[in-house]
């Protein structure tokens, strides 16, 4: 809880809900006739609407990126370290837009919203949404806000995939594409981990084939397990050892099955927290969106060809100990961009935090990110 708002915070913010009534046809072939998106904005849109930055969220993210909803909030938004006055994404200069994606569980239309056709929550009947669907919905959001071209679209992890998709789907609507700790598609191992998470959720007796809302139940155990296995992939082995080692909670081995090592209780706590705050159907959807992301697939698996559609400049960053989306995966994007003759800067940040590093204000990370955002602001760089 902040006793006072830090000077480099966007301060107290409130979300707003926008309603869209033009049907949106999704990649799966189904159509959403009406939907709502919850957003937050920080900073001021300039007269020619040229300073807007879109922030796309990752698997469990949402629209609350920076600042506080009330003085009682325990923590600020999920990327407060990078968004605010004087920060990398400087709200003194940029108009920042963040949203909760379609299919989310933080207010935008998703599985826990009411299905107008049945009057009941969509549940498992909510269509599977993909990265490209999100990008289309974000383009409609831009239209509604009077923004034709984003100064930058920014995202980490699954958010980075949306930024990358923007560069290909709406080449003339994005000047800079910022892709942090992402990959051009999931590896087999990534998909395997996602499947473990999905199985944990769907095999939970309280899941009721996704209709748990009607039973007033939540597949809490499944969600918790899903989050625990996910969380392991967000940390690095070194980071985990440094933070928890083999520390025992009570200082001795108890010869029973209660959590004894610190890492056990940490993961349980994380899983527990998550399972009370996140919707299981949304989790399933998000992991599917990750699995399906593969922009090169339509181009004979040639990423260079796929990215040849882009017209913007790129900033790609990865973290040395990230094994979920390792530096090699970012380098695949960089290599393809060079091959396609696109403007690109790439940095590999030394960090012990694994995939989670993209959310942590590591000094060198913030320094290069700020330098690049300054270039976005001043229009520096030389697009040919």
């Amino acid at each position: 809880m902040p006793t006072e708002i830090p000077h480099d915070s966007v301060g107290l913010v409130s979300p707003q809900t926008l309603r869209f009534d033009t049907p949106l046809t999704l990649a799966c072939g189904r159509t959403l006739d009406h939907y709502e998106l919850v957003i937050e904005t920080y900073g001021t849109l300039n007269a020619d609407a040229s300073n807007a930055v879109l922030i796309c969220h990752a698997l469990s993210g949402h629209h609350h990126v920076a600042g506080y909803h009330s003085m009682d909030d325990r923590k600020p938004g999920w990327w407060d370290s990078a968004v605010g006055p004087g920060k990398a994404i400087d709200t003194n200069h940029f108009f920042v837009v963040a949203l909760n994606n379609l299919g989310g569980c933080h207010g935008s239309t998703g599985p826990n919203s009411q299905n107008p056709a049945t009057g009941k929550p969509y549940g498992p009947d909510f269509p599977i949404v993909t990265v490209i669907d999100w990008v289309h919905s974000q383009a409609r959001l831009a239209d509604k806000l009077g923004i034709y071209q984003w100064a930058a679209v920014v995202g980490g992890s699954l958010g980075g995939m949306q930024a990358l998709q923007w560069s290909m789907t709406y080449p003339d609507r994005i000047r800079h594409c910022i892709v942090i700790a992402a990959a051009p598609k999931l590896s087999t191992q990534n998909i395997a981990f996602n499947e473990v998470a999905r199985q944990a959720i769907s095999k939970d007796p309280q899941f009721h084939n996704g209709h748990y809302y009607e039973h007033n139940q939540v597949p809490k155990t499944g969600l918790m397990l899903a989050r625990m296995v996910g969380h392991i992939t967000y940390l690095s082995e070194d980071g985990m050892r440094e933070k928890f080692g083999r520390e025992l909670r009570s200082g001795k081995i108890n010869f029973d099955f209660h959590p004894q090592f610190q890492i056990e209780s940490y993961l349980q706590y994380q899983g527990e927290q998550f399972s009370t705050a996140f919707d299981a159907n949304t989790y399933l959807l998000m992991t599917k969106a990750l699995d399906y992301f593969d922009p090169a697939a339509d181009f004979d698996n040639n990423l260079t060809l796929a990215l040849s559609q882009a017209q913007c400049q790129f900033f790609i960053a990865s973290f040395t100990t990230d094994w979920r989306f390792s530096p090699e995966r970012s380098r695949e994007i960089v290599d393809a961009l060079i091959d396609a003759g696109k403007d690109v800067c790439y940095t590999e940040i030394e960090a012990a935090h694994g995939h989670d590093a993209f959310l942590i204000p590591i000094p060198r990370y913030m320094e290069v990110f700020s330098a690049y955002m300054k270039r976005v602001r001043t229009g520096g760089g030389h697009t040919s």
């Binding site: 290599d335 060079i338 690109v344 800067c345 330098a371 300054k374 040919s384």
Partner: protein, 196 residues
């Protein structure tokens, strides 16, 4: 701009594709992008240099050149430049081969270890030369391979590398007419333009 870069930039064709290996703060690229509209990329490993490149609006890729350039396609650049970095590579010969694979032409500059001042330093003092230009001591120098113009040209003959141009200058990168009387003795820095 550093004087060797001034010489190199004259050899770069407008609108060409350029890769600068060990691009430092990106000054060569910045000039060529602005003045010759090249599509250029720099490869660099030093964090401060990378930030400088980003600030200049230069495309910079963080990469350890010693780990290879395999992901870059054959012949995908018109020119590949390596200025004052070949002597810091683990295997200069393999790097030159890689440069020639990627680039249609390559430009390499390096300090000449057979310059008379270096020779006399070593022969008179019996110690590894330290000068304004080679300012490190033997144990902390990034310059791990010392070689001479003659050595480099022998490598070119051995590997069928064709030398298109050679300029030899002093440590301030000035042309001196007398250098050409005995380049391997009198020249401090060589700038070679090579191809397959």
């Amino acid at each position: 701009m550093r004087a060797d870069l001034e010489i190199i930039r004259e050899w770069i064709q407008p609108n060409s594709r350029l890769l600068d290996l060990g691009c430092g703060e990106g000054e060569l690229l910045e000039y060529l992008i602005k003045e010759k509209q090249v599509k250029g990329y720099g490869i660099e490993i030093n964090p401060d240099n990378i930030t400088s490149c980003i600030e200049k609006g230069v495309n910079v890729i963080e990469k350890d050149i010693d780990k290879g350039l395999v992901s870059i396609r054959n012949g995908s650049f018109d020119t590949v430049v390596m200025s004052h970095a070949l002597q810091t590579m683990h295997r200069p010969d393999l790097i030159v081969e890689e440069m020639l694979r990627i680039g249609k032409e390559c430009i390499v500059t390096f300090p000449n270890f057979a310059h008379w001042r270096v020779r006399s330093y070593l022969s008179v003092r019996g110690k590894m030369p330290v000068s304004k230009f080679l300012s490190y001591t033997w144990y902390n120098t990034p310059n791990i391979h010392f070689f001479t113009f003659k050595d480099f040209e022998e490598l070119c003959v051995e590997r069928n590398i064709h030398i298109l141009d050679r300029t030899v200058v002093d440590h301030e990168h000035r042309h001196r007419w007398w250098i050409h009387l005995w380049p391997n003795m009198l020249g401090e820095i060589a700038i070679y333009r090579i191809t397959r």
